[in-house]
């Protein structure tokens, strides 16, 4: 890169520069954030000071945040111009992942509540396969 390269002045977080120090720094920063988020996750899961029913949601939010940290600082998915294809593919992947997970959990939950086995079917259902 030359000194006139505008990217040097306007670089998205996680975008690698061409110096070894800044590249390493990007990984160190990512590691620090990931360790912090992991630590908070384990603390949230074991503390009794937080409101119990909200803990599971909080843990999921922390996990999504940590995935974002990994994507930006380790995989270098950024908002830079070179990354449009990667970001679009990621967006599509995330869409499918959420459709599969939320769709399955939603539908199966309702089937579980509304379509319990008939009493005379219970013996069949309870058999261990």
């Amino acid at each position: 890169m030359t000194e006139h390269d505008p990217e040097l002045l306007n670089v998205a977080p996680g975008e690698p520069h061409d110096s070894m120090l800044s590249e390493t720094l990007s990984y160190v920063l990512g590691l620090g954030l990931a360790l912090a988020l992991t630590g908070v996750s384990f603390w949230v899961a074991s503390t009794s000071t937080l409101w119990g029913p909200g803990i599971a949601t909080g843990l999921v939010v922390l996990a999504i945040a940590q995935m974002g940290v990994h994507l930006v600082f380790f995989l270098h998915i950024t908002s830079g111009p070179d990354n449009a294809n990667n970001v679009l593919a990621l967006a599509f992947g995330v869409l499918i992942v959420f459709l599969v997970m939320i769709g399955t959990i939603w539908i199966m939950h309702h089937m579980n509540t509304n379509m319990g086995p008939e009493p005379n079917m219970m013996n069949l259902q309870m058999q261990r396969g």
Partner: protein, 214 residues
Amino acid sequence: MSSASEAPAIGLTHSASEDTGLGHRGPESKSIVVPYGFWLFVLSDMVLFSALFATYATLVHATDGGPVTNELFDRNLVAIETFALLISSFVCGLAMITAKRANMVWTQAWLLITGLLGFVFLSIELYEFSTMIAEGAGPQRSAFLSSFFTLVGCHGAHVTAGLLWLGTMMAQIWAKGFQPHIMRRLLCFSVFWHALDIIWVAIFTIVYLIGTLP
């Protein structure tokens, strides 16, 4: 414009392409196309895992009178596993930085540490699996345990494949040096390895932490 072909890359970003899409060039160079194609594979792998996660979430309470999550999982072991895999992912990034500068000694050293930490992770997982099976909590005990072993075991199988790939890459770098096609393979490996850590974040949160809430 800087040279557009075969620029060494790190992560999924490359520094060479500044094309604005106006179409004065031919197809992108392999250093761009190959990581993009591999990124698509990694994303489809995540879709596969999302199906396993959905299965697990559906079946987690179908324990058939057998052991439940709170009785089975040991958070301390999971914390060590998580730490080992995270540091492994980080060290893999350091290996990419030194590989970009064709530093053989440091690249091999970082890759070795990456592999050893991956091996630590895998050993703990196998220990956990064998303990559970010895206690009668094997995959055939209940629907919950079937889905647990499928989900976590699939991730473990990916880590195993990654370790084999890592050993192959170390040998290829040693034998062939930092040629462009070797660097592309190494880049794909690093993307794979980082992706496995991302999937593990979901596993330790959904399976182990939420599963062991009081």
